[in-house]
Amino acid sequence: MISQLRTLWIVLKHTFSRADTVQYPEQRPKLYPRYRGRIVLTRDPDGEERCVACNLCAAVCPVDCIALQKTEDVDGRWYPEFFRINFSRCILCGLCEEACPTYAIQLTPDFELCEYDRRNLVYEKEHLLIQGTGKYPGYSFYRVAGKAIAGKDKGQAENEAPPIDVHSLLP
């Protein structure tokens, strides 16, 4: 009973405290780079698409708003044939970014995603893909992966020994 009265008193005291509300849009809030807003697909330092269409973002998405299809180019790189995010479903939870093994999918501080027509909230790869590396400069998945692609043969990735000569029995 006393605690209830104390609660009432504490809440009443807030009559005289300042409101924390930021008067958007007159006042713009300060958003940090890790703010979870509109999703983009980034490129690796060589300017190639980072996304390898592994489907982990789609799998982790709690509202299933990501759909993509893997394809492969002549170099052996995997990339998405299409990559679609339905922002009318997206809850900007950021799980896709956490799941992404290549830092391809990133959330940006742009949260102003309003449209009069819901169809305009369906973003295809051409709408998602940006030119830069986003928050993680310098990272390139294929430099650490074992798969050979054009310009990076077997044994040329980080921490890789040259390919084995299978005709040799030497240690």
């Binding site: 998405c61 998945f141 077997k154 040799s168």
Partner: protein, 929 residues
């Protein structure tokens, strides 16, 4: 002739519905080994006593109990070699031992009162350590690996708890090889468990996949780039615990396992009836994987079945109805046109199909009437199937399942090359010859799962396998004796074998001494065997051969009273036997009915008549018929000549029942919605509201099919009120996949024909085996999760292997002895044509898959080199097979003399070898005969 048959060599006679499920009845899961205690022992695992089966190894026992223990090199079908060291557990000396020692579970036989620990800290640390070592060189590849998400290595890594890589040194790398159109190779990922070569060499008898180099440099591949030749190479995808071997056709339109919508299905590329699990994504069929069936395919499929799915979305697929005059039609116009044409008809001739379901054929039969229903297969094949059924019904024959075939200890193959016509059967026969090795192991007290020891003890000893065929077969390498002869001679050899077994059977006059001796040897081997098996089929289109098999079976039954003879007849297509059981009329009868003017309309269901009879006959038939209607999923020569073509659903889009060559009726289910305007074949044909009604009507009107309604639970079946989802619970992209077309998400399509739902929601477990679309268990994302669905490791499915056997249970009472045929008269300068089957090429639908087509042979005429020399023909020289059909000569050493082999069923070969014809080769410049 024998007395009453009380059993066969493989256990008590099977009562029909015993191993099936009653539709609608609540499903009972026996559990993962927690069911009835097995005869045998008890062992103590982490302080709890568990019943186990004597003679097993610890790993088998632990997995059969439903417990989790990581492993790599062990495989239920291949036994243990103790190579990977992953399945370490602690074994205690006695009740007082608290320390224990780490042993390999896969190499340790169970013993009464044994005390072991799976969860002991030492055991866990040991396993985590081993896994870390296995992972040192594993690349950082999972996102770009086709195995990711269904990878045994991923599962085991999580299971052992190895989460952080401590190794900072250089990783060894390997160059990959091009292994042909089916398999991708990525050797960096290899953990050297040796499963691939053990499977490829020891299990399949392949010799072009080897191990190279040494220590941690070992390399699994071919000597040089090139196609993996074995017909079962596709199973490497599932056998390899990680992503070294992956499905190349799947990679082209890749989807993760969790994104595939699947359904329990049955392979449609031969008569064996292997269970498959086709996977769909974004409206197209993406791949086929094995669906375990304890009696049929077990863990393995053939490459035709695994890679032959391309026709479902292939370039020749029909998506729209079309009329010969006006081109594409919409659905309602097509319906009206069909109705008008059928009303206008002066009599309809229905031609069914051995590649359509029983239900679709029955719907056609109901539409046109039983006497106007025709089988739609070549007349020679029709005759063979009639003979075959006659034998099965009247003789004490037991049609063996593949698991039973694997246990046969003497096998005679007459006139068939099972690798090409019923591939999975050939793989089973390859295991059957190992029974001698297992017997030797038994004598020495070596358990069967001690793979290396059994092989070491047996060396090259094999159970006898005799092959009599017109051409060399892919099983010749394991055969005790082979015999190359014309089908007639093969039949005569068979009759001689029968006479050798039972002197009452009429003797064969005029055999060559070699054949006499061979017949005596075969008779001796079959009589002395515990579980003899005879394999034949419609492969060489010879009724004589089939009658010879009947004679041998009757002789064996007479020599071994009370026991039915084990037989397997390979049939060419997925429902050949089912269609034969419907007692349809022959194609010649259809031609006669049209010719005589009794009927003027042809209603052809899923059939290309140009594959069934020669071009002139079919041309005449199609020209004579006033109206030709074709219902099919693929555009073929017959459909191109039809006045109305209606698009039918392929096997991946419809439900139905197929009868396998074992006589087993099996239900397959749609993995996806019919593409385009296509719909189930039977939906075009009648007013059937749902499949169950049609199946019920079929069961009621044809007594042989009485039990088929029990093949699988019906559409009303529910688990706790819920349907079974076709999609895994982590199916992704639901709200985005169609958002580009329409922002409003469509309702999930309803399925009125089965208890499966096109959804990720529904009953998560306790699926009856016949309705289980895919295997998954917590912690087991790869297909090896199937262990959680078996009554014991490598055993039968919990709840019973699906399907109901309709015929061939050894109930026949006997036929009078047949009279052996005479030697055929030789024709001067002429050869007899025999069809030569090809696993890649002879099947109609699989040839629409580019990967399979790539492996198919080019048309040829095969001649024995001596015949070729006699006729003055050189390799590669063109000869005229039929008017204006010129084919190159291929010299085939080992082909029986006096015959010419023509590949069966190749799409660009317009002359099907429909009967046992004689042929005089014409060279260019010769006068056309």
């Amino acid at each position: 002739m024998p007395d009453k048959i009380v059993g066969n060599d493989f256990g008590p006679p099977k009562a029909g519905p015993k191993d099936g499920l009653q539709g609608g009845s609540p499903h009972k899961i026996v559990g993962n080994g927690f069911g009835p205690p097995k005869a045998g022992l008890h062992i103590e695992i982490d302080g709890k006593s568990h019943p186990v089966k004597a003679g097993e190894n610890l790993l088998q026992a632990i997995l059969s109990l439903g417990l989790d223990l990581p492993y790599f090199c062990w495989h239920p079908a291949m036994g243990s070699v103790g190579a990977c060291r992953q399945c370490g557990v602690i074994q205690f000396k006695d009740a007082n031992d608290a320390q224990g020692r780490v042993v390999m579970a896969c190499m340790t036989p169970v013993a009464e009162g044994m005390r072991i620990s799976l969860q002991g800290p030492d055991a866990k640390a040991f396993r985590a350590g081993i896994l870390e070592l296995l992972m040192t060189n594993h690349p950082h590849d999972c996102p770009v690996c086709e195995e990711g998400g269904e990878c045994h290595l991923q599962d085991m890594t999580v299971m052992t708890g190895h989460t952080v890589r401590q190794y900072r040194g250089l990783k060894r790398t390997h160059r990959n090889q091009d292994l042909g159109p089916f398999i991708n190779h990525e050797m960096n990922r290899c953990i050297a468990c040796y499963r691939c070569v053990r499977y490829y060499q020891d299990y399949c008898g392949g010799d072009d996949l080897q191990v190279f180099a040494s220590h941690n440099h070992v390399y699994f591949g071919r000597q040089e780039d090139g196609v993996l030749e074995n017909e079962f190479s596709g199973n490497l995808v599932e056998v390899c615990p990680t992503g070294v071997f992956t499905d190349k056709t799947f990679s082209r339109h890749y989807s993760r396992k969790w994104d595939l919508q699947t359904a329990p299905s049955v392979c449609v590329h031969c008569g064996i009836g292997c269970n498959t699990s086709p996977g769909e994504r974004y409206g197209s069929l993406r791949r086929i994987v094995n669906r375990y069936h304890g009696e049929i395919n077990g863990y393995f499929l053939c490459d035709r079945g695994r890679f032959g799915y391309g026709f479902v979305n292939g370039p020749a697929r029909l998506y729209q109805a079309r009329s010969a005059e006006t081109g594409p039609l919409d659905v309602s116009t097509a319906e009206n046109r069909l109705r008008a044409m059928l009303e206008d008809a002066k009599g309809i001739v229905g031609i069914g199909s051995p590649r359509a379901s029983l239900e679709a054929n029955f719907a056609l039969r109901e539409r046109v009437g039983a006497e106007r229903f025709h089988a739609g297969i070549g007349d020679a094949e029709h005759g063979c199937l009639r003979t075959l059924l006659d034998l099965v019904r009247n003789l004490p024959l037991h049609l063996v399942s593949l698991r039973e075939a694997e246990r046969a200890d003497a096998v005679l193959i007459l006139g068939e090359d099972p690798t090409q016509t019923a591939p999975r059967l050939a793989l089973a026969l390859r295991q059957a010859v190992r029974n001698r090795a297992l017997a030797i192991a038994d004598e020495l007290g070596i358990p069967h799962w001690q793979d290396a020891a059994v092989r070491e003890a047996a060396q090259a000893e094999k159970s006898p396998l005799f092959i009599a065929s017109p051409a060399p077969t892919r099983l010749d390498d394991i055969a005790a004796r082979t015999c190359r002869a014309s089908p007639r001679t093969i039949a005569r050899l068979g009759f001689a074998v029968a006479h050798g077994i039972c002197p009452e059977a009429p003797a064969v006059m005029g055999l060559t001494p070699e054949h006499e001796a061979l017949a005596a040897e075969i008779a001796q081997a079959l009589t002395s065997a515990e579980r003899p098996l005879i394999v034949a089929g419609t492969g060489c289109l010879s009724e004589d051969v089939l009658r010879a098999v009947g004679q041998i079976a009757a002789a064996l039954a007479a020599a071994r009273p009370g026991r039915a003879t084990a037989v397997h007849f390979a049939v060419p297509e997925c429902n050949s036997l089912g269609l034969a059981l419907m007692d349809a009329q022959s194609l010649a009868h259809a031609a006669h009915t049209i010719e005589s003017g009794e009927a003027d309309t042809l209603l052809i269901l899923e059939n290309d008549l140009y594959r069934r009879a020669d071009r002139t006959t079919v041309d005449a038939l199609l020209t004579r018929a006033r109206q030709v209607i074709v219902i099919d999923h693929t555009l073929h020569a017959t459909a191109e000549r039809a006045h109305l073509v209606l698009p039918a659903a392929s096997f991946a889009e419809t439900e139905g029942t197929l009868v396998s060559s074992e006589g087993r009726a099996q239900r397959f289910f749609a993995a996806m919605q019919p593409a385009g305007d296509s719909r189930d074949g039977w939906r075009w044909l009648g007013p059937w509201p749902c499949l169950d009604d049609l199946t019920r009507a079929l069961a009621d009107s044809l007594p042989v099919f009485q039990q088929i309604t029990a093949c699988a639970p019906g559409a009303a079946f529910r688990i706790a009120g819920q349907k079974i989802p076709r999609q895994p619970h982590r199916y992704s992209g639901r709200t985005a996949m169609l958002a580009d077309i329409r922002i409003h998400e469509p309702k999930q399509p309803e399925d009125t024909d089965s208890a499966l739902a096109f959804s990720m929601e529904g009953a998560a477990n306790d699926h009856p085996p016949a309705l289980n679309p895919f295997v998954w268990a917590p912690g087991w994302n790869s297909n090896q999760a199937v262990g959680k669905f078996q009554d014991e490791a490598g055993g039968h499915l919990s709840g019973g292997d699906p399907g109901i056997r309709l015929i061939g249970d050894g109930a026949g009472t006997g036929l009078p002895w047949s009279v052996p045929p005479e030697t055929e008269a030789s024709i001067a300068d002429a050869l007899r044509l025999v069809p030569l089957h090809h696993i890649f090429g002879s099947d109609e639908t699989s040839m629409h898959s580019s990967a399979v087509a790539e492996r198919a042979p080019h048309p040829y005429v095969a001649l024995n080199p001596e015949d070729a020399a006699r006729l003055g023909l050189a390799e590669g020289e063109e000869v005229e097979l039929a008017p204006d059909v010129w084919l190159p000569v291929k010299c085939l050493p080992g082909l029986a003399a006096g015959i010419a082999g023509v590949p069966a069923g190749l799409p660009d070969l317009p002359v099907p070898v429909t009967a046992w014809q004689s042929w005089k080769p014409n060279k260019p410049g010769d006068e056309t005969s």
